[in-house]
Symmetry: C2
Subunit: 402 residues, 2 copies
């Protein structure tokens, strides 16, 4: 066999994707409770599903035909209206928005559009594990900024300043956050924007969970004075419309960046899925989106979050965590237990799956600061199974520790 590319040695396989594949197989055999991947477990809005069926009946050819690389103009217009309504910021749907294959492609195209070899990108530690590998694929360098449970997973502006160099090309901000659920403080964003203006670097704002907010108010980076020219915002329909499997998202940014992303996208995926885009037009009409979020998504996930919070207290009283203001996860510091068990977080999760059929994600997958933690999602299982899963984790701890 001829050789493979050197770049493969630079990147890791995503452990969450590996677990997803394992889970696909394991589920067929046993009753597994998953607090693993952050996959919505709600059906998409009925209006969206009905619209797909109508499209396939009335215009199958157009619904399954190619669209332009930036996506349907009608959908981009509705997105612009929606962003204006929610965040008060105006985007030109013809120039400042591109539809992508989920948030993942948005991140990939963004990094490929802005990074040259050796450019530095600052990310938090712990953070979403897709960033570092995509940065490396684009030949960038990963610089980390540690956060911890003691500060509610809020990054320190002073520590950020220390990390900025002449090669700093971008900072990636995810809020609400994965894996910690933390909503970023406004004063940090203010400092970040001022630094981006002063030092001329990009803010990549990953707004994947922008509507999944239980308490407080999430920021919108572009609404800070001077931020527009420096900010690229990644969005996905996976969380807010519960359609992760349809792979649709969008990115906003200065027209030059969107044009660059389009150019690269032509050779990566050519164009986004047409059928899902047409159906999403209904997501934005007649208040469907607002109602779906307000009546279905947020109440369901809030109940599950509150339940999991109380169960963590009940079964893992020595663990440290922050009740998440948004997103899908508890990031739990279980070092107290791990020390008694003489295990690390990875061994803990492996044994938990093997012995109790419960999936949790080792915190160390999200960065070195995540060591001794586990990430538990509360959106993938209904309440009675959250209860059962947490009971199993408690029993597992108890059998080891006491």
């Amino acid at each position: 066999m001829p050789e493979l590319a050197y770049r493969l040695s630079l990147i890791k396989t995503s452990p969450i994707r590996r677990i997803a594949a394992l889970l696909d197989q394991a589920r067929r055999k046993r009753d597994i409770i998953s607090f693993g991947g952050g996959a919505p477990s709600l059906p998409p809005p009925k209006e969206f599903l009905d619209e797909i069926m109508r499209l396939l009946k009335e215009m199958p050819q157009r619904a399954c035909g190619y669209c332009g690389t930036r996506g349907l103009p009608e959908l981009r217009s509705l997105i612009a209206e929606d962003l204006k309504k929610y965040f008060g910021v105006s985007y030109d749907p013809g120039k400042e928005i591109i539809i992508t294959d989920g948030g993942t492609e948005g991140i990939f195209l963004t990094l490929f559009s802005i990074l040259d070899k050796g450019d530095e990108v600052i990310i938090l530690d712990p953070t979403y594990l897709g960033y570092s590998e995509a940065i490396k694929l684009a030949q960038g360098r990963v610089i980390t900024l540690p956060v911890s449970v003691e500060n509610g997973y809020q990054p320190d502006p002073e520590m950020l300043k220390e990390r900025i160099t002449g090669r700093t090309k971008a900072f990636i901000l995810l809020s609400p956050d994965n894996p910690t659920g933390r909503i970023i403080r406004e004063d940090f964003v203010k400092t970040l924007v001022d630094l981006a203006i002063d030092k001329d670097f990009w803010i990549i704002y990953d707004a994947a969970y922008k509507h999944i907010v239980y308490e407080g108010k999430n920021v919108w980076v572009d609404s800070f004075p001077g931020a527009r020219e420096k900010t690229i915002t990644i969005n996905t329909f996976s969380k807010e419309a519960s359609i992760p499997g349809l792979r649709l998202g969008y990115t906003t940014g200065p027209s030059e960046v969107i044009e660059a992303m389009e150019k690269i996208k032509q050779y990566v995926t050519l164009a986004p899925d047409t059928l899902g885009q047409y159906a999403l037009l209904k997501f934005y009409e007649n208040g469907v989106k607002d109602r779906y979020l307000r009546e279905v998504v947020l109440p369901t996930y809030r109940r599950r979050r509150d339940l999991m919070a109380s169960l963590i207290q009940k079964y893992l009283p020595e663990a440290k965590t922050v009740v998440p203001g948004g997103a899908f996860y508890f990031f739990v510091d279980i070092r107290y237990y791990l020390e008694k068990m003489n295990r690390d977080d990875e061994e803990f999760c492996n044994r938990l799956l093997y012995r109790k059929n419960v999936v949790a994600i080792p915190g160390s997958h999200f960065g070195s600061m995540g060591k001794g933690h586990i990430r538990l999602t509360f959106v993938s299982e209904p309440e009675e199974r959250i209860e059962e899963g947490m009971r199993r984790i408690g029993a597992f701890m108890f059998s080891y520790v006491f």
Copy 2:
């Protein structure tokens, strides 16, 4: 605005995508006949459409939920059976097949999995315009092998040998071909496989049009002795199931390559579209695929091809072309006319659109050997509009030339 990446200066915007975007707008205003992009104009099989509706009714959550990065195991198994049936070659669905976001992502992931900086990839001239830019994005070097209408667009094995160096990493073979419709000769493939074994380079076999064959028999590179270890085969559902807008395809190859592609795909698009994959299970069942190709796709496109062949003779008697054995296109050498008009192929196509509302693609977009040619697709319009479009082209020529 902070700087964009240098790599953007290395790649061109796809002219066909630019035309597609223009067309999107222009169509609203005028009656345009498109011989441009190779987009199927048939509805997908009814069984496929019905299955999407059933899935959305009976299991919306699963149908719109994440799947593994390699795609649904059930679909990969059916693909393996299908390839065995059609081409007599066995693939391990667990290890040697990955589902991609159309053929485009298959090409992209393949090149990113095998190319290091400076590695050479040999492509034909003219050829599909996606290859060269994707090669450059992956830091490879493009080496071209010219073909021309005089040899029926068949590449010359001796000229291929001359182009192989110590840095040759891959050869891209597309058959049936875009833009020429030529089906590759077996003796060329035999030579190519022997060279790939001898010199240890990859054959990237783009089988996008593998089932769109009107006369003769297309090759299957993996069925040649010794080819399996050297060949990566790109497939798409866009042409054979008429679903280009759903962005689904698959790639086969040695397990190491598929593993590499999966690793990269995690950070490019995460996973393929789940809904379309579930519905494609029906495409492979109960002879749906065979029947759709035999009774709908091939007779329709063959009729249109034969019609366009006769109309080219009628309206452009001095043009040179080869009646395509497969795929969607006539590649027509119109130098006789262009000389009299004192125009190049790009100017010709621009004026044809402006004056006659007919889209044709300038041959020079497919490589320097394509200068003085136009590409006409015969699948995007029904017969009466092919007739009308060719009449307009004839009238346009006549007004200039005589």
